[in-house]
Each structure stands twice: as structure tokens, then as C-alpha cells.
Amino acid sequence: MTNIEEAAQRLAEIINRHRADYIEAHLEESQSTYITYRGKELESIGKTSSVGGNVRALVKGGWGFVSFNNLDNLPDRVTLAVKQAELAGGKKIKLAPVEPAIDTVLTEADSNPAAIPLAKKKLLLDEYNDIIWAVPKIQTSVISYGDGRKKSIFVSSPGSYIEQERADVTLRLTAVTTADNEIQQVGLSLGSRGDFGKVTGLHQQVEEMSRNAVGLLSAPQVKGGEYTVVLDPVLAGVFVHEAFGHLSESDFVYENERLSDIMALGREFGSTELNIVDTATIPGLRGSYRYDDEGVPATKTYLISEGKLVGRLHSRETAAKMKEKPTGNARAVSYRYPPIVRMTNTYIEPGTATFGDLIGDIKEGIYAKNWYGGTTSMEMFTFSSGEAYRIRNGKIAEQVRPVTLTGNVFKTLKNMDGIGNDLDMNQGGGCGKGGQVPLPVSNGSPHIRIRHCLVGGS
């Protein structure tokens, strides 16, 4: 028996001896490898191993949480969590009911990046770096590769004992170009649920990325203002995550009457063609799992169906408070944090338009591709593209500098008037919320068109 199995079994006994409305514990064991390059040279290579756990207790609506990476003194940890919960508590709350589960979920056989020798990983990255540097005018490159494998055990006072394994691979490549006083960069982000094969064979994409970074040096900046924009599936995925996904996380809503009124089920957000889904049930995606960090089975949740708000993402607490079903979206980035409501794999379902249909009748607009990042304040959101082109008279025209787009969730989704037929999931992202970052998620969308989108510029 490993250390964490032993600790989990001890904790399962200890939490039953305590008087609290609910107690759960997480134990976690992980190994990870990272390799980074800056410029022509490898910058660092290293390995990390980690063991830790936490206890979370609920007493009269107050939560106590104790995290540790020393597995001694477990009874004291539980006592402290219960004591803190008592101090924080006031009014009793309910948790949405869930059947206690006893289960073991192992990773797929092809998902053990740790088994691949360091030399092989380094060889692949050397190849990519050589491709970047073979392109003229490259000033520097940044490559950051990471893989990890994690085993976690969840035990709860109602009797759950769930052991889950997961593996993760991420790769981010950036090419930086300079000329005179200009500096430009283009990046490529990929990820997989532990399958190293998904980050191999990217040689052509890496070359395109590097050539793009060169192209940007002579690209002009657009004038700030409103444009009709077409987003590629990668950027549209970031858009759906930022513009709508976060607003559907009900921990923002459940104790906020005004926001609950705004987010009433049935409210119209977009055209009847618009369907938005979050689901952790698709095997092989980075946001997928069988049970969330409260032991709730993963589900497929329609957030928007035919343009109307029909669902939202829940923890057991938010579901009970809003009298809805739990969706299995309580996730913690590691044992150092309590689970909070998070997205998993979020996407816009494909429509019927071809790419040609989407740009065909645009006289003047912007085609924005790839991503730098995005953020939201719920009402307002911004997201930035990694590449951008002008659209003129229904055709993709010259390259321009990457653009930052902004919008208002209540207006922008309604301004989406075209949904492509080419859904693609992007696995290269990580989500941050409440200091918990980067959480593995994936986003996806077909190409989409948005009218009157505000774009920053000169």
C-alpha cells in the first residue's frame, strides 16, 4: 500500500468519529517533468514529485479547510478543520444529495508520459527549436514542455472512496522576431490527457508559426473601433470560455439575488442557432474526469440551447441552494485548495455555415485567429488573438497586428450571427480562478462571426 492509500484509509476512519455536517478528505501523489528552452539553448530540465492532502469540513454553513504535505498528525488536521468550520458557521446549509461511490479510475494505457525517456522528449523539442531557428529574422524562441501524472483519493463522511489517476501533457512554443524597434511573437499551445503522441509531428505547424512571427513585423495595426469579426475555432473557444463560460459558474450566482435574476433559466442570450455545452464526459479531453473533487459523477450540461439559458455549472452547495441538480463541476487545481465551481470542456456546437459563407458577405472586417489570453469580469470580457487579417469584399486580405477584442456578454452573444460547421477543440489552455491556476480545461467552437465587436487599436 502506498503512503496516500494508507493515509486515506486512516482518514476515512477518523472523519467518521467527528461531529460535523459533512467532512471530506483528498490525498494526492504526483510526479512531473519540465523542460524549457530559451533561445537556441535548453534552459532547464527537472523533475518534481509531490505528496499532500487536505481535509474539508462543513458545520452550519461554515467551511473549514486544512491542507498539508506532511501526512503525520492526521487526527489533528481533522480536528482543526472541524474547529475552523464551527467558527465560520452560522446558518445550516444543504448539499445536493449524491450517492456515495466506491470506485477506481485508472488512466489509459497510452497515457504515461513519465515512461518516455527524457532523451526522447528532449530530441523532439530540439527538432522543433531547430525549425524555429531555421526561419530568418528569428530573434529568440521559448519552448516550455511539461508532463505529469497524478493519483488522487477522495474520501467522505457519507462513505465515498474514489481513487482516480490522470495524466497531462502540455507544450507551448513561441517564436519572437525583431526588426528595428519592432518586436513580435507568435505562439502555439497544445495539450493532451497524457498522450505524448499528441505533441509529436508538429513540425509543419511550428514552421508556420515562425513564419507568421516574421510576417507580423511588417503588419500594420488596425484602428480601434467596431468591426465585424470572424473568429477561428481556437479563438472562438477562448471567447466562449471567457464570455459565457465563467458566467455560468453558479458560485458567482448562488448567493447573489440580482445576478440570479439576470441569469434566470429561459433568458435569451443568442440566436436559435446557438448551443453551448460543458461536459467532462468525453474521453481523452484535458477537462474530462469520471468524478469531480466532491465525488459527484461528471455530466454533460447544456448551458445554452437554441439561444436560451438552460443550465449552469454546480458544486453540491450551489446546486442545493439554487434547487437544481449537481453537475459534477467542483474542481481543485491541487490538494492545496478547496474545490470550487469550474468548467471542464466547453464548446459551441457546430452550425451549418461554411467558412466561405461566414466571410462571403463581409465588405470590411477582421479575421482573428489563435490566442494570447482572455479574461472576464462576468459582464465585460476581453480576449486577444495571436494573429489577425483583414477581410475585404468577402476575402481574407493582408495580415495585421494581433487584436484585443472586448464585449459585453449580454450584447455580444446576440451579435453572433454566424456559426460554422467545423467544430474543433483546443487542448492547449489552462484556466485560472480564485488563485487556482492552471486548471486543465479544453475549449472549442466552429468558426463564428460577431457583428459590432469592439477592437482595440491605434
Binding site: G39, S49, A85
Partner: protein, 434 residues
């Protein structure tokens, strides 16, 4: 630790063991009431070796296999980069005060009371506001020993409190917030709530700006959200070494307005970013980065400094993965002598930026920034008349800071690592949704 060092010395030419243990107790309020009390304990040990001239690295947290550290470091050293530096043999460090034992003795009850006070004061102004507040205390112990006899030990305390308010009218949302941190306990909530109440007051009315170039006053939090991220990248010795910093070859040249001075300073007593030495045991110092508009220095760790044929500035910092890289400690922007009111009074039509959302997510290497004004106010004939929305601001830090109309006398801390006054810039691109 001594055991690990001894084993590592047998397997490699040089070795360094870094160990940090930390404890913190966040008390969190959600939807105006106490919700979570947490206690977090963590520790990790990192081993860096130089074997056959190459760097190997391994890190383990908690009780997990510290015995494997040496073999893992040896395994990675086979592929590691060539070590260009010597570990410091320093054993005495500048006396920088970062520990106040009083922090440990602050009780949970006292922390809860501070949080209640934060929420009550803000709700006293706007009854309908929903607040999230956090009061946090913690201590961190750092120990470094290396094969050249270098040894560092220090303990640091930290205390922080902050509040965010969220006010909703129909689908209009307003966010306000402020926080404060120190190595001393903080017993007064006034400094924080005064800022929040002022934001609420100024945002009461809404106003619209036209799309055009106009004068902009960045408040300290506006400066921190919009202008600092590109500078933090540009002064990083690693980026300079790669030739990817737009100011990397401009030492001694006037790149910014004469009124602009900036330093990196981990030597200020009782600040959370201060420390007697960096994470590889190089003594802390204050590093001037910009002196009256001229580029003075960049920040370095040992390896980067050696490659750049210069000295480490004591900015070697371990990120969450344990990797060492140069990173800023506290960026201090020198204040001027214009008051915030004087700046506003001088503007006929313009914008005050309190927070620019998303500004740091573009091509920050080039100095470009672009973001949504999450909190900002319109200035009309020298007066703030209301909050603006659906407004986007874009610019380039190097162009913007070349010509500054005035620098404020109102310098304050924004988070742990930025201390800045307000900046008044004569012409910035503003785009507004019709």
C-alpha cells in the same frame, strides 16, 4: 538537508539545497458573510547540482521521496545546461527586517473581526453591494546551504487584508476593490475601505466618452494593471540576453521622460517582497532600473548574469515549478509632486483609468497594451463626472512614457510588488462602443 547536501557532493561537483516551509491562514468572506477558514501547511526541498559542468535539478514536496532527490538531479544533469556561475559562499547577509512575531499571535477571532469590519464599512455606503473579503496571515521559513559553504536562514511573516465589492443594477455590473499587505499585523481597515468608498462614489453616475486620442490619468492601480507588465518583462536580464527586450541595448540612453524613475527594491523593511537574499543566496540590493528617464540596469540571477558577463542583482527567484529565473521583487516608481486633483483639474476632456482588464494578455514584449476599462471615469472640464463603460484603451508603454505631463505625489502599494504614483499622459487612444 545536510544529508542531502552530503550525498549530492559525492555525486556531483557542486550542490545547493533549498528548503522552504510555509504556513498560512486565510479567513474568507463570501456574499458579505464569513464562509471559509483555512489553514495551509506546505514545504518543499529543491536540489540543484552541477555534474560534469551541467546543471541538474530535482524538487520534492512534503514527505515524498527526498531520498530520490540526488538520483533525479543526476538524471536531469545529463541533459542540463552548462553551469556558468559559482554558488555564493556568503554566510552573512544585510539586515533586512521581514519578520514580526506579532503576526503569529493574531487570533482567528481578531481576523474575523477585521473581515466583518471591511464588509460592514463598504455595505454602510452601498447597502446592495455583495462583498468578498479575505484576511490572511502567514509565516515562511527559508534555508539554503551549498557546497561552497554558503548558508542562509530567514523567517518571514505576512499579513494581508482585502475586499472586492460587486454592485449590480439590471445587467450593469460595477466592481470595486482594494487590498493591503505587510510583514506587520494590520489592525486598521480604514486605508482599504477609504479607497473602495471613493471608487463607489466616483462610479455613481455613468458618462460616455467619444472614440479618439485624449489625455489619460492612470491611478496607481491603473498603472499597475496597464503599464507595469511590459516593463517587468523588458527589464528581465534573460529577455535582454536573448535580444527580445526593446530596451536591452539602450543602457544610458534616455528612453523615458525625465520624470520617470524606477527601481527594484527588496530591501525595504517589513514588506512581503523584501528578503535578505534571493533564492540562490545572493545578498539583496536595491537596483536602479531607470534614472530620470535613462536606462540604468537590468535584473539578473547567477546563471543569466554569467552568460551576460555581469553580476547577479540578487533577483534569482524560484517559480512554482522550482525553476530559477530572474524576477522582479518590488518595482518602485518614483513619485512626483503633482496631486491627483491637480492632474484631473488640468484635463478638459479625458479619462481616469483605475483598472484596465486584459491589458497584459497581448504582445507585452513590444510594450503594446490593450484592454477594457473595467473601472474608469470621464473627466469633463477638470472634474470627474462619472464612470465609463464599453471603453477600450490601447497604446505602447514606450511611446506613452516618453512624454509624461505629470507624475503624482500619491505613491502607494498596489499588491505586494508594485509601488507607484498616478501618471498623467497627454494622448492615449480610446475606442468606445457606439
Amino acid at each position: 538537508m545536510e544529508n542531502i547536501l552530503a550525498q549530492a557532493k559525492q555525486a556531483a561537483e557542486e550542490a545547493e539545497v533549498f528548503m522552504v516551509t510555509a504556513e498560512e491562514t486565510p479567513v474568507q468572506f463570501e456574499a458579505n458573510r464569513l464562509k471559509h477558514i483555512q489553514s495551509k501547511q506546505s514545504s518543499y526541498t529543491a536540489l540543484r547540482i552541477v555534474k560534469n559542468g551541467r546543471i541538474g535539478y530535482a524538487i520534492s514536496s512534503g514527505t515524498s521521496g527526498s531520498r530520490d532527490l540526488v538520483s533525479t538531479a543526476v538524471e536531469t544533469a545529463e541533459f542540463g545546461i552548462k553551469a556558468e556561475f559559482e554558488l555564493p559562499s556568503v554566510t552573512s547577509y544585510p539586515k533586512i527586517k521581514v519578520f514580526d512575531p506579532d503576526v503569529e499571535s493574531i487570533s482567528l477571532d481578531e481576523m474575523v473581526k477585521l473581515g466583518e469590519e471591511l464588509v460592514a464599512t463598504v455595505r454602510g455606503h452601498s447597502q446592495d453591494i455583495l462583498c468578498q473579503a479575505e484576511v490572511n496571515k502567514g509565516t515562511t521559513s527559508v534555508r539554503i546551504i551549498n557546497s561552497r559553504g554558503g548558508e542562509l536562514n530567514y523567517k518571514q511573516s505576512a499579513f494581508a487584508l482585502g475586499i472586492e465589492g460587486h454592485l449590480i443594477h439590471n445587467t450593469d455590473m460595477l466592481f470595486v476593490g482594494e487590498s493591503e499587505s505587510s510583514c506587520h499585523p494590520i489592525s486598521e481597515t480604514r486605508a482599504v475601505t477609504d479607497v473602495v468608498l471613493r471608487q463607489l462614489e466616483l462610479a455613481k453616475n455613468q458618462a460616455r466618452l467619444p472614440s479618439k486620442r485624449m489625455p489619460v490619468v492612470f491611478t496607481p492601480s491603473g498603472v499597475a494593471s496597464a503599464l507595469i507588465p511590459p516593463l517587468m518583462a523588458a527589464f528581465n536580464g534573460k529577455i535582454v540576453l536573448e535580444g527580445a527586450s526593446p530596451i536591452g541595448n539602450k543602457t544610458g540612453e534616455p528612453v523615458f521622460d525625465k520624470k520617470f524613475s524606477l527601481r527594484d527594491d527588496p530591501t525595504i523593511d517589513y514588506r512581503p517582497e523584501s528578503r535578505p537574499a534571493d533564492d540562490e543566496g545572493v545578498p539583496s540590493r536595491c537596483t536602479p532600473l531607470v534614472e530620470e528617464g535613462e536606462i540604468a540596469n537590468f535584473i539578473y540571477d547567477l546563471q543569466t548574469a554569467a552568460l551576460a558577463r555581469t553580476q547577479s542583482t540578487g533577483n534569482g527567484t524560484r517559480n512554482s515549478g522550482g525553476l530559477l529565473a530572474p524576477a522582479p521583487t518590488a518595482f518602485i516608481l518614483t513619485p512626483g509632486n503633482t496631486t491627483f486633483e491637480e492632474m484631473v483639474n488640468d484635463v478638459k476632456e479625458g479619462l481616469v483609468i483605475e483598472y484596465l482588464m486584459g491589458a497584459a494578455q497581448g504582445n507585452i514584449l513590444s510594450g503594446d497594451f490593450s484592454g477594457n476599462v473595467l473601472l474608469g471615469y470621464k473627466i469633463e472640464s477638470g472634474k470627474i463626472v462619472g464612470r465609463v463603460k464599453d471603453t477600450m484603451v490601447s497604446g505602447n508603454v514606450y511611446q506613452l512614457l516618453k512624454e509624461i505631463t505629470a507624475v503624482g505625489s500619491d505613491a502607494k502599494w498596489e499588491g505586494d510588488s508594485i509601488n507607484t504614483p498616478s501618471f498623467y499622459c497627454p494622448s492615449v487612444s480610446v475606442a468606445v462602443k457606439n
